[in-house]
């Protein structure tokens, strides 16, 4: 069954939240991490607001699933911080959105 952009974004937000939880283990960066998670959630949600009902392409669905799978492999909180800025861009590119929002 074809997924919608909204469903892909919902999965991406879930993965972003999980990265944030892991990254929060870096205590010195707690504020940065929570701010970055909030900014990335808002960015992804804005895509869903505009295009949520749109059918996603198979390649976009596969790309987002693969990117989310990669985040699940991240065990190091420092690397999770790096992924908090990278993962939403992978999702954006898969959905034909510009890098950086």
């Amino acid at each position: 069954m074809t997924e919608t952009v909204g469903e892909l974004v919902a999965a991406a937000i879930e993965a972003t939240d999980a990265l944030g939880l892991l990254a929060e283990d870096v205590e010195d960066e707690w504020t940065f991490v929570t701010d970055l998670v909030a900014a990335q959630r808002a960015r992804l949600a804005a895509i869903a607001d505009r295009r949520g009902e749109e059918s996603a392409t198979d390649s976009a669905a596969a790309a987002v699933a693969s990117a989310a799978d990669e985040t699940h492999l991240i065990a190091d909180p420092h690397r999770a911080i790096d992924w908090l800025s990278t993962f939403p861009d992978l999702v954006a590119i898969a959905l034909g959105e510009p890098v950086g929002g």
Partner: protein, 222 residues
């Protein structure tokens, strides 16, 4: 205002070996003309866990099929194949090397672009850390610190850049100071949003617009 080579300490000597790694030059050459999605691909792979190139081709379909993307993917996977410490060193050196290559494209002379340089001002104690890359065009000099991610932006870095800019102004010398960050503008804005350190006069060049270094900095506002 004058520029001076930084005295090499033990860290610098070790790091110089990293900077000379052929993999650094190879990736810098590829990223110099990369599209923003290709740069994100490189960042993701160098941050990543999986070594199967098909995983990354699936993850960033907009970049494939494409010869440069394939070359970026192969080189980035080589970086990711190292342990965390070496991986971190290589990534930092790659951002510096890309910055150098981009600045060379608009330098009047190749000798104007230098690495690991201090900026000295009359009556001002010299800074602790050298600038990663400088463009030493007489009357229109530029000094850059390079960061792999927004997290590398610290108050110390911002103060040093801003101090240099202000001291240059005091001497009525032109000095553009900037941060080249291989990360998104969004992440950098979040980072800067909480700092009390001065950053209004510091140019910010991020992964979306690395080419601004070669084209001039109109596209890289503070």
């Amino acid at each position: 205002m004058r520029f001076q080579d930084a005295a090499p300490d033990a860290r610098a000597i070790v790091y110089a070996g990293v900077q000379r790694d052929p993999l650094v030059a190879r990736l810098a050459e590829l990223l110099e003309r990369a599209t923003p999605p290709q740069s994100v691909l490189a960042r993701a792979v160098m941050n990543g866990e999986r070594a199967d190139p098909d995983v990354w081709r699936t993850m960033v379909p907009a970049c494939f099929p494409d010869e440069r993307s394939e070359a970026i993917l192969a080189a980035a996977l080589e970086v990711a194949d190292h342990g965390d410490q070496v991986r971190n060193q290589l990534r930092g050196a790659i951002v510096e090397a890309v910055t150098e290559r981009l600045l060379r494209r608009r330098a009047a002379s190749s000798g104007d672009v230098r690495r690991e340089r201090r900026v000295l001002f009359d009556g001002v104690r010299s800074e602790i850390h050298p600038y990663d890359v400088t463009l030493e065009t007489p009357g229109a000099a530029e000094a850059y610190d390079c960061k792999w991610g927004a997290r590398g932006i610290s108050a110390d870095v911002l103060h040093q850049l801003d101090d240099a800019r202000r001291h240059a102004d005091d001497e009525e010398q032109g000095l553009v100071v900037g941060l080249v960050v291989f990360d998104t503008r969004l992440a950098c804005d979040v980072r800067l949003g909480r700092t009390s350190a001065p950053h209004e006069g510091i140019r910010l060049i991020t992964i979306e617009r690395l080419g601004a270094l070669a084209e001039g900095l109109a596209g890289a506002p503070p």
